[in-house]
Subunit: 253 residues, 2 copies
């Protein structure tokens, strides 16, 4: 490969997309990026994301890499893509990356944020970006429950598809906080990696704790069970943002 | 009238509406409110707004009044309307009002805010709520120009339709500030009343000042001319929010 590898940082409103990953007959974020990339460069390059996001999930800082045979300055690539992309997908940064950089395999961690609005009325301007809970959540109880999730655990009980073949369901959650700002409750989660629907499952059980229907201390028993049950709901997608993807410094030129 | 007068505070995302006022064959905010009000109460009451907002303009705190023959507690009215309204229109408060209260005639002032994003890329989540300007605005120059607009003036040069018959084009702008928060520039304007497209004209000329194409000192000459010219552009509607409507305290029961 005599061309260049690029690292893109991408922000998108997932409201009208069938998620990140290309799927037949569906409008996806990866699909839009590959379509406009071909239009801009004449090359049919694949855009490799750090991971999928589900239908309706947003991203503030998704990361992807791609290879181009032609040489285009990264700033021109970003500008050209933004000129062709729909306005609900924006390339916020573009850089040349080392040939060994891989958006998914080089990632050493991810941060997700889950946004909840717990007053009667969601402001219309936030309706697409906040999960609505009608009762005021007990953030102190949610924080106690979060402490039981932090650390290295088998998260089979907090993924949507525990029977799917994955190498391991053990992950390390390095940070999990619950904060209130007015009627907004924000769950911030950092881990070395997340299983399928893991953040929405964590948000789902924390919301139950905040509503008072699950005691905070029960979280450890749920985790230990290693079994997904109906006790753990999956919180709706539109409250979820892939916030950033972490890499070792050396991977970007 | 043996019924009751209600005061509603309403928040809406104007993106998909042909403005506030009912118009044939068009989806409007007032039209949606009157439709669901009839559905909820069986009464065909008119919803009187504090004033119109144009197509695509938002409101954080529009105010309206309406009369109902039946007696419904204000909280139940708000809840019932929100259950039937589209999610981009929310009733944020409902109160009983004095029979003499009139959303337009009782108003003693209004506050509008105009939001501008002046970096290369508008975050996708704000795209419907920020006017995009590509060059970084000189907020200090805009503030100097704003000082020339504050006070009591004939605003014929800063309204879109100066030939339209209005009693007077004199208004008192009691507050006009320009503030920056990161890549966001916010123009806040309070007045005893605003002429047609007056805030968007003020935003338009202040943006030109911020871009350096109109000197701040020229504002006074523009105002004194009392003539609308092409030198004053009308800033796009989606940056504009009707923020609140002010009333004397005694008008609400």
């Amino acid at each position: 490969m005599s061309g260049k590898r690029y690292k893109l940082t991408i922000s998108y409103d997932g409201s009208t997309y069938a998620g990140w990953q290309v799927q037949p007959q569906q409008r996806t974020v990866q699909g839009e990026l590959e379509r406009v990339l071909a239009e801009l460069t004449g090359e049919h390059a694949k855009v490799h994301g750090s991971g999928r996001t589900d239908r309706g999930v947003h991203a503030k800082g998704q990361v992807a890499h791609l290879d181009l045979a032609g040489r285009m300055p990264p700033a021109a690539l970003a500008k050209g893509l933004n000129a062709l992309l729909p306005v609900d997908i924006r390339v916020t940064a573009a850089r040349l990356a080392a040939p060994s950089f891989h958006a998914r395999r080089s990632a050493i961690g991810k941060e997700y944020r889950y946004f909840i609005w717990d007053a009667d009325v969601v402001p219309p301007f936030l309706r697409l970006y906040r999960a609505h809970v009608r009762s005021r959540l007990d953030v102190a109880a949610m924080s106690r429950a979060a402490a039981g999730i932090r650390g290295r655990h088998d998260f089979a009980a907090l993924t949507a598809n525990p029977n799917r073949v994955v190498e391991s369901t053990v992950r390390t959650v390095s940070m999990l906080t619950v904060r209130r700002r007015g009627s907004e409750v924000v769950i911030t989660a950092c881990a070395d990696g997340f299983l399928y629907k893991m953040v929405r499952s964590i948000a789902g059980i924390l919301i139950r704790v905040g509503e008072g229907t699950v005691p905070p201390g029960e979280i450890r028993a749920i985790l230990r069970s290693r079994t997904r049950t109906a006790r753990v709901p999956t919180a709706p997608p539109h409250g979820l943002f892939l916030w950033r993807v972490m890499y070792p410094h050396a991977t970007v030129v």
